[in-house]
Symmetry: C2
Subunit: 248 residues, 2 copies
Amino acid sequence: MGKIKLSEISTRAPKGFDKTETKEKTAAIIKELDELQNLLYAEGKHSILVIIQGMDASGKDGVIRNVMGNMNPQGVTVKSYKAPTAEELSYDFLWRIHNHAPKKGMIQVFNRSHYEDIVITRVHKWCDDETAEKRIKAINDFEQLLTNHNDTHILKFYLHVSPEEQQERLTERLSDPAKMWKYNEKDFEEAKLWDIYMEMYEDCFNNCNNPEWAIVPADQNWYKEFLIATKLSELLKSFDMKFPGLKK
Amino acid sequence: MGKIKLSEISTRAPKGFDKTETKEKTAAIIKELDELQNLLYAEGKHSILVIIQGMDASGKDGVIRNVMGNMNPQGVTVKSYKAPTAEELSYDFLWRIHNHAPKKGMIQVFNRSHYEDIVITRVHKWCDDETAEKRIKAINDFEQLLTNHNDTHILKFYLHVSPEEQQERLTERLSDPAKMWKYNEKDFEEAKLWDIYMEMYEDCFNNCNNPEWAIVPADQNWYKEFLIATKLSELLKSFDMKFPGLKK
């Protein structure tokens, strides 16, 4: 894989995707996901970690609600990572992450993740380059640990919005009563740091690429949801699962 | 460091160590440890992970009681690892270990540890060589994570008893009312696997040696306790700690 440059990747659906048609397809996949997840849980062999990253207003919550929200909550857990607490800071940065690794049979979704420890922290210079380099190595080792020692399959999604779309959505939060609760006065300040954010994300994609990231064009929710549902469904199908028989 | 061969390392104190004199020294060190640990806790900068491994009846519990037992329990926690539960087995093998990593300011003691996942498991062929190799790599990565990302200092002690001393102690458990509770009929069976256990431990020392292991001659409790108290005290002193001033 060549080096990823976000500015060269479209934030919109490729030509030829029809919105209505795609939405119908997504609905069918989401129905299937429910059955596949049930099988994953029953079999208890594999586990899936879905990591969702993206700028403010890139639609992380929406993906979780619309794509993951239809499966049995007993088998799907979501962990949202915020700024680390004083308690969490008294451990290494992966401690709070490992604590929420998926058990066998489970789908664990991370709304933000350990990647914040090499993105926002570097944008604001809370973390120097030397520390970031060590963290990158530790993240790669950690993802290999989950992969090799618990058969955890990691899907990493970056929700790729354009700065224009982000501004529109942030502004909407100021006027839409259903979205006002999401408004944070810092968001507009953060948005000004767009270029450096992109650079730090590109660093993640290029240095932490085993497994690789999926860069998801995210200006249109219908396309974003279709793509993520498809990837998840393809992964689940690749397990070739069967309901276990009676226990002897 | 050359390859470690346990059969070439004495299980007894080196010549010139007087029992009474050494015991007095140990008592003085243990007194000091209490103050040093208090400083570690107050400063909240460093953390220590003490890993204690050894064959049955090598004196792991005794070290914990006699060397660690004098410090403030608020700053010293002990985790004994037994055979993993079904819950623990549904995660990667380091999940239950990471969960008990020391916070800043703390001393965490492991009575047995992740090393069981490459020792007893290999002795009994519950784990094949390929898996063991992957685990060794994962253990090294994990210990580096703690070291580099939370300033955790890891002390690894192998309590080195002779098979003769072990037999004597196991037999004592059959007749000493204060020790009967420790008797496990499987212990004598396990003891027959001595040579293969030694080989698997040597593999740990040679492959997971960053930080290095201390092989502690353990036939005499007084010498073993002296050595471990000394190592812990030396480590604490190396931090050059100061009580923090008033918070601004």
